[in-house]
Subunit: 148 residues, 2 copies
């Protein structure tokens, strides 16, 4: 949200702009494959960590159950992920890549160029400072949220 010259934007405004710029580049790269960024994270997790229970995946990706539920539904509709009632607990669903899902994953481009483009070559100390500032802000905000 810009209300002054670009140079005077607040930390908060730059945080938002940076987040959306990265998201946009990720989305643009994935568009030819008809994948959204969060869908990519799900595939990444299943490809690297193997089949997962939906609840655990939600924890790892920090998504609400309701949010993940919709994303998984989309991936199932596209036949990239299979959702089976995993034996033990009949409430839980086990998520597995389908053959089509594995095939697509192998075709996908490496996205690490995005992080590299954004932060490559930046002084290590400055990166560490940035992380510390953002982390402490996040924690303070979440504390305020919990107290309501």
């Amino acid at each position: 949200m810009r209300d002054e010259a670009d140079a005077n934007l607040s930390v908060a405004a730059w945080t938002k702009r940076c987040y959306f710029a990265g998201r946009a580049l990720m989305d643009a790269t994935l568009r030819p494959y008809d994948l959204g960024s969060t869908q990519w994270y799900v595939l990444w997790h299943l490809a690297h960590k193997g089949p997962s229970v939906q609840r655990d995946l939600g924890g790892a990706l920090e998504l609400e159950r309701a949010t993940l539920s919709g994303i998984i539904a989309t991936l199932v509709r596209k036949d990239l992920v299979e959702q089976t009632s995993s034996g033990e607990d009949q409430r839980q669903r086990l998520l597995t890549l389908t053959a089509a899902g594995e095939a697509l994953w192998r075709k996908l481009p490496d996205l690490s160029f995005i992080h590299e483009a954004a932060f490559g070559g930046v002084d290590e100390a400055e990166l560490a400072t940035t992380i510390r500032v953002l982390q402490s802000a996040t924690e303070r905000l979440q504390n305020l949220l919990r107290k309501d």
Copy 2:
């Protein structure tokens, strides 16, 4: 997106978490007034800068025309904003706060406590570093985006 211990999250991950934490606190504060965060920004702009042409507001808030269109439609439905065909250019719409909009704006709590909670007391130099890192990352990402 978390795939390691919290302490090892990347800058990108903290940028996202921080953005969403701030957004969540803002949304929670505005919920009793039945307002979303972007709706608040629109009201803020109209209250402080006076009536605006929709196109200009989109520029100031960095929203696509289509995105703003929906948000304005919501505010019009709630009778907080009036949308008139501003004389000169018959394509443009002039946005004005209604009486109800002004009344609501006066009742809204001050949200500056959020920015204060997040970044208050942080060393000035560290804040400046954070802004510089995020700004340069944003610019580099946007350059890549434009080149596609």
